[in-house]
């Protein structure tokens, strides 16, 4: 898989004295869901809007589908789909009118009726934009982003402000976009969203890309330690766990033992050890590090701060 549809190299964008994006570089492969992940104000949206051709970077180069987004804006706009952060439409615009109007702007749009059906908006087609719920508005914006059957879809903070159920429904829709062979670039400040949805993520903070990889790869590289907690009354267990390969520490707290190690097979090793030595276990759980932990490790702070 080496077929980049987007190449970003060394872009920088400042608003007055505030540097929003500073020397950002990454590539996005065809057919993947790529996430720009970081806290609010990290420079995700500015980066995204440079990719969409809505802003010109001060420095650096961008190629989307082989085109410079700002200079070849008109040629690119018909091949990409865009959902903007916190965008609105005319309050009294009907859902059906919006998709039909958007469809009229492109040479070969998809069928607006079919699209509304797929996004579950068919019964809302005569409703005014102002009467839609947050989730319905976002589904409409997804519909508008897909109306021209684009090759690349940009989704900026798609699920912000939605309840967990609506959020999950939107995730399924985004996976559906990938299944149609399209490339998706999204921004999110939700680590869980990035972890569940993205094939690869770029972690951004203070306008810089800190690292790029699959969520699993980032966790393996930056938070390789595994933690297994075993509750047992067996006093000999602690020594047996310490002898396992890759185990760095076993902290006993009453009957609960917390086993820490860097061996990716730690969990299996502990289970085997328990069964081989016939250790009586009353509770057992593992803690797997997440992107949240990666962010904390890389930046020294929690993304929610």
């Amino acid at each position: 898989m080496n077929d980049p549809v987007i190449r970003v190299s060394g872009i920088r964008k400042a608003y007055g004295s505030v540097v929003a994006v500073d020397d950002v570089s990454f590539e996005v492969q065809r057919g993947e869901i790529f996430g720009l992940v970081g806290p609010n104000g990290a420079g995700k949206t500015t980066t995204m809007e440079c990719l969409e051709g809505l802003r010109a970077p001060d420095r650096g180069t961008i190629s989307v589908l082989g085109l410079d987004p700002f200079r070849a804006g008109a040629a690119l706009k018909v091949r990409i789909g865009v959902q903007l952060q916190e965008a609105q439409l005319q309050k009294r615009l009907k859902v059906g009118e919006a998709v039909r109007f958007w469809a009229s702007l492109y040479a070969s749009p998809v069928d607006p009726g079919v699209l509304l059906e797929q996004l579950g908006l068919n019964e809302k087609r005569n409703a005014w934009f102002m009467t839609l719920s947050g989730g319905q508005k976002q589904r409409l914006f997804i519909a508008l982003a897909l109306i021209n059957d684009p090759e690349v879809v940009f989704l900026d903070e798609l699920t912000t402000g939605l309840d967990p159920q609506a959020r999950r429904a939107i995730w399924d829709l985004v996976r559906g976009i990938r299944e149609r062979g399209k490339t998706v670039v999204l921004t999110t400040h939700l680590m869980e969203e990035a972890e569940r949805l993205c094939d690869r993520v770029a972690i951004i903070e203070h306008g810089r890309v800190i690292d790029v990889d699959t969520p699993r790869g980032l966790v393996a590289r930056h938070c390789p330690e595994r933690v297994v907690v075993v509750a047992t009354a067996d006093a000999s267990a602690r020594q047996r766990f310490l002898e396992l390969s890759g185990v760095e520490a076993v902290d006993a707290d009453g009957a609960s033992m917390t086993i820490r190690g860097r061996n990716p097979g730690l969990v299996a090793d502990v289970i085997q050890c328990v069964s081989r030595h016939g250790i009586t276990v009353t509770d057992f759980h593992t803690t797997v590090p997440s992107l949240e932990d990666v962010f904390l490790r890389l930046t020294g702070r929690s993304i929610r701060d």
Partner: protein, 246 residues
């Protein structure tokens, strides 16, 4: 200009769905016209009231029409910018100029509709004019509206939020109407106010409309036409230089 008619039609429908905006644009000038006309109907034929009804009132109503169209445009642009609607439209293949032109067309259309309503309402006070003269008046009004809309665009370019748009537009346009020569001759103003009146397109619009209403040929108002066109081009150029999409 791909998408211009579709967007214009869409904006017409959206505007018509907002009862208050529709009343402000169409209702207010018609109401002012009918109420003032009735109040002054009893005056003797040689009184100043009768003279006002004969020539002042139609031009006042026309200027109100153009102004409410412009204030409404400034407000809509500000709301669209604040809500990110302009930005969302700019992410489509629509040409940026198309997005703004659609709004101008909507305003011109509603101005034309209001004028038609005024003609119906004014049949009682005015001898039926020849259709040719009314068409000339309509053309002069639409042309003047375009000129004044350019000032609206300049205001819309710099107004920070939708909340400020309407009061700011009012503060700018109502003094422009007061100084335009509609209520008293400009020559009676102190010199510095005369200067101000001369650099406002509203003044030339009033002069043009008054002349056309009196039955002057347009050729005798070429200076007004040229001034409106010049200011229109100047303010449009400034607006496009400073226009912010978000």
């Amino acid at each position: 200009m791909n998408g211009l008619w579709q967007l214009t039609w869409l904006e017409i429908k959206i505007f018509a769905r907002e009862p208050l905006g529709l009343f402000g644009t169409i209702g207010v000038p018609v109401l002012v016209f009918v109420v003032l006309g009735r109040l002054m109907r009893g005056a003797g034929p040689a009184s100043p009231e009768a003279a006002f009804v004969k020539t002042g009132l139609p031009v006042l109503a026309a200027i109100l029409m153009a102004t409410s169209a412009v204030v409404s445009l400034v407000t809509i642009i500000a709301i669209y910018r604040e809500g990110g609607i302009l930005k969302r439209l700019r992410a489509t293949p629509l040409h940026p100029a198309t997005i703004l032109t659609a709004h101008v067309l909507v305003k011109l259309l509603f101005t034309a509709v209001t004028l038609a309503l005024l003609l119906v309402a004014g049949r009682r006070y005015y001898a039926p004019d020849t259709p040719g003269e009314m068409l000339r008046f309509a053309a002069a009004l639409l042309f003047s509206t375009c000129g004044i809309l350019s000032v609206g665009f300049l205001i819309a370019s710099v107004v920070p939020t939708a909340r400020f748009a309407q009061p700011l537009a009012g503060v700018i346009f109502y003094p422009m109407i007061a100084l335009s020569g509609l209520f008293f001759p400009i020559a009676l103003l102190p010199p510095w106010l005369q200067m101000m009146a001369r650099v406002m397109p509203m003044t030339y619009a009033v002069s043009l409309l008054q002349g056309v209403w009196r039955g002057d040929p347009i050729a005798s108002h070429l200076w007004d036409v040229a001034a409106i066109a010049l200011f229109g081009a100047l303010f449009t150029a400034l607006a496009s230089r400073f226009f912010k999409w978000e």
